[in-house]
């Protein structure tokens, strides 16, 4: 059974809006990422996305770009991220999704990556710049190892592609609420609800909506029509501000509890 599927089934049963969190692994270093992930899990996040830093994050806004630079400066690699997850997997309740650009995975090799992801206890993989047309090889490797392939859907995605993504994806579908790069916003995007409804018409897979979500009221609003809200840049910003401080984990835990409030 897929840990992701179970998690979303439970959320639907409880009629609770889910919270998916994103952090860039290795910001400020992998040791502190371990503590951050434990804190987020304690605070009750439903799915943990672990971002792999990449030198050219062209889908990311300034907050995650800076986090990526700090993570790379601390020597973080995909291999190191997989080792980290493996070492803390038993302590974490929530499903863990690897969030990466294509090249680090292709450099490691799709098959080797899939093997290492399974060993690490990874539940799902989302590759930002690997659209459906290019994803077949990696997806097959992941499917064979029981790992979900999370596909992104955007306001520009046609209905035809929505149907293909619904057929090929598993775990959940990640809907991007707006055009543009990642980054926190004050208000939710117009059309976000329609976006989710469009996906609902073609798929029963759970839908998590991301891009621009930073507050509990966003999470609650999204939860009325999507299965979960994704908070990335706003959480990464909390880590950026708390980076070196002794109470980083407390701050992160409090922020995630606040989001769930």
């Amino acid at each position: 059974m897929s840990h992701l599927r179970d998690t979303f089934a439970r959320l639907r049963e409880q009629k609770t809006p889910g919270l998916v969190t994103y952090v860039t692994a290795g910001d400020p270093d992998l040791d502190r990422t371990a503590g951050v992930l434990r804190a987020i899990d304690r605070a009750g996040a439903d799915v943990l996305e672990v971002g792999v830093p990449f030198s050219d994050p062209l889908a990311d806004g300034p907050v995650i770009q800076r986090a990526t630079e700090r993570a790379l400066a601390s020597g973080t690699t995909l291999s190191g991220v997989l080792d980290l997850v493996r070492s803390i997997r038993a302590d974490i309740r929530a499903p863990i999704v690897i969030f990466s650009y294509a090249n680090p995975i292709l450099r490691l090799g799709a098959e080797r990556f899939a093997d290492r992801a399974r060993e690490a206890g990874i539940d799902g993989v989302l590759i930002l710049d690997l659209p459906i047309e290019e994803a077949a090889d990696v997806r097959d490797m992941l499917v064979a190892r029981g790992i979900d392939t999370i596909l992104l859907l955007s306001p520009t995605t046609t209905d035809d592609r929505l149907r293909r993504a619904a057929a090929l994806g598993s775990g959940f579908l990640y809907a991007i609420s707006r055009l543009g790069v990642t980054g926190a916003r004050e208000v939710l995007a117009d059309g976000a609800k329609e976006m989710v409804q469009r996906i609902r018409r073609v798929s029963d897979l759970p839908v998590a909506l991301g891009f621009g979500i930073s507050k509990p009221e966003h999470v609650r609003e999204v939860g009325q029509w999507a299965d979960a809200a994704v908070v990335g840049s706003a959480l990464v910003d909390v880590i950026a501000r708390g980076g070196a401080s002794h109470d980083l984990h407390t701050r992160v835990e409090e922020y995630v509890r606040w989001l769930k409030s």
Partner: protein
Amino acid sequence: MKATGSKDAVTSAGSDQPAFGRRDPDARGYFGAYGGRFVPETLVAPIEELTAGYFAARADKAFRDELDQMLKHYVGRPTPLYEARNLVGGSVVAGPERTRPTPSDVRVFLKREDLTHTGAHKINNALGQALLAKRMGKRRIVAETGAGQHGVATATACALLGLECRVYMGTEDMRRQALNVVRMQLLGATVQAVDAGSRTLKDAINEAMRDWVANVTDTYYLLGSALGPHPYPLMVREFQSVIGREARAQILDQAGRLPDVVVACVGGGSNAIGIFDGFLEDADVRLIGVEAGGEKIAPGCHAARFAGGSTGVLQGTRTFILQDDAGNIELTHSISAGLDYAAVGPEHAWLRDLGRTEYAHISDAEALEGFTALARLEGILPALESSHAIAYTMQLVPTLKPGSIVVVNLSGRGDKDVQTVIDSGGRVLSDPADGR
């Protein structure tokens, strides 16, 4: 002496009409194992719209005719093919004792893309894509630039066609190509500084793509080299293939036969693929691309992808890239901003696999020698990018059989590089000893 190309000859050779559609990549945009579309989901639909728009435009005679007319009357095509007699066998020391070439020597012809309006081959592609953008109803253009030549060409095309223009440029490139920054601004473009990564071309492309992904509905991304997701590598090659069509007709006219070797510098590889395209089916013509060897072939010190690279995915395409063991893109270095990039166009990687093209690299110091030689011996200031091709040709010529013919793509002019050459200790002042 018939030193320059005859426009009549080019026209009468029937080469002024593009032969679009030859050597297209497959439907997914692959040239062999290279190419494809590695983009975030938001860009898939806009890229499909672009692909449909491009294929419709190139099938439309009216579009081709409009572009041809602009290339002729606005850009100044065909550009001359000039036989550089002094460069071969000449010495950089000017003066009476300079060795003169003999009739049996190798003949070197320069395809003078430096003489186009705006001073580099980039205008061929910028005008083509700007016309396409207009046809597709896009009012706003974003572009990246390294050396500034593509930025200037795009700003020019936008001024001409009444389009809004924003050019992203790394701060390191803005410093070393300051003249081109001002040129773009004078043409009405906004130049947006990019202060990330190595502050060069790669970072400018990231930022241009971020702009595009946020503004896909009204914005056209005018990519300047044979790079990026399909259809850009194809589209840019086809807009640049005018160079090869002209050069082939001109060399037949002026030398009476095909060349033995064609040489071009390769950053992303648009000028090279443009001239190579004219000779790809001429199996006896060697096609040699010259990459930037920088200071030395070691990580971070060069941009010679075929010397220090491996296959990977960068900015939408699978090709040869410079990367570390973890799949992060390595920093690059070249004295020429236009060659200072970590990936090469996917079609080059494919043609190299097929054994149809060869690649060499030239160091910063050698490129400066090429720059100086062409200036002193032929009275032409080449762009530092093109100086790599010149320098390689100077090394190649002594190894060729007498009577061989070489065509070199002189892709751009060097005004923009004057400060870099001075800063690099290039010999710019007339040393009294030089004249004797």
